[in-house]
Symmetry: C2
Subunit: 192 residues, 2 copies
């Protein structure tokens, strides 16, 4: 079920380029409307309040803002995975490979072993879900720690791309607040 506050904002302030690019940098990932993000955090809390979340996990950079307000709504710490720039990975890090379709590169994401513990129940949060590569990587980090992925809270899912359905079929509860069915420069965005 969509979250109308976000869907309406995408209709009003989002820009479609071609059939694949949805620019939301006016309110979500360059300029940030923190009032909207606070509402998004509360909505994630309404959807995942009963699963015992102990930690919010996201990936730098554009997931951090949403994850902050999710962590505030749940009253738990937030951890963000870093995109690794160096070749050497210290032994005190969990690591996973992520293939970026946007940039055509493979990069490592890392998180300190100090901040994902076997007893953690982790809600993964991100701004976008499309092919699911970043979400796959974050799930891998949690499982390396022996912790539990209790779900993924996504702001915008490009539901015409395969990531969301694939990851749900693998047994992860994915809740997307705006599920884009199709988009077009003239017609705009339609949601499921």
């Amino acid at each position: 079920m969509g979250f109308s506050l976000l869907e309406e904002r995408i209709r009003r302030d989002g820009t479609v380029r071609g059939t694949d690019i949805l620019k939301v940098d006016k309110f979500l990932n360059h300029q940030i409307d923190v009032t909207l993000l606070e509402e998004i955090g509360l909505e994630f809390h309404r959807r995942f309040r009963d699963v015992g979340v102990t930690k919010i996990l996201t990936i730098e950079a554009s997931g951090i803002a949403i994850a902050c307000f999710a962590a505030k709504a749940f009253g738990v710490p937030m951890v963000f995975a870093k995109k690794n720039k160096t070749k050497n990975i210290a032994g005190d890090m969990y690591t996973a490979k992520v293939e970026s379709f946007t940039h055509g590169k493979v990069y490592d994401i890392i998180v300190s072993k100090d901040f994902l513990l076997p007893e953690d129940k982790v809600l993964i949060v991100d701004d976008f879900l499309a092919n699911g590569a970043a979400l796959d990587g974050l799930i891998a980090l949690v499982r390396q720690a022996g912790a539990e992925v209790v779900g993924a809270g996504i702001a915008i899912e490009k539901a015409f791309q395969p990531g969301g359905d694939r990851i749900r079929a693998a047994g992860v509860r994915v809740e997307s607040l705006a599920r884009v069915a199709a988009m077009d420069e003239q017609a705009g965005v339609t949601f499921y």
Copy 2:
């Protein structure tokens, strides 16, 4: 004047390596204590409430979390400058060069012209201030827009490095919540 809540947290959970590296990734820039960050945002608001702030500006990635809570305290939008990865910079961006002493590289930071306007009164926010290179770059972006820098709110200033004093001498009001006078692996951190 220091902000004791942050100073005490640095004493308790920060780790000094050598005489120059202060690791605060337990609460400030890898795992994030959002309760502490909310208090930091409120403290920035107490210090800058009377200068008509219209926008918070920071730089990805570790400034984003603090800037979110500053923006919430002021009730204004947050904008984060991006570290540019591509050679081509579109004409709709303000851009500045930043020399990283930590990584020994020069990189571009960019912000869309849509999000810094001549009438903006900008409070720049960041987690660390040392040599001041990132802050110089952010100030340059604001001035390219014809906007006003009303101040800089910094969580931790390494006050034994020259950035803070240099930028204050140039006329920018810099408020740092924890000003580190010296640090040492045995003796820990001392504050001004």
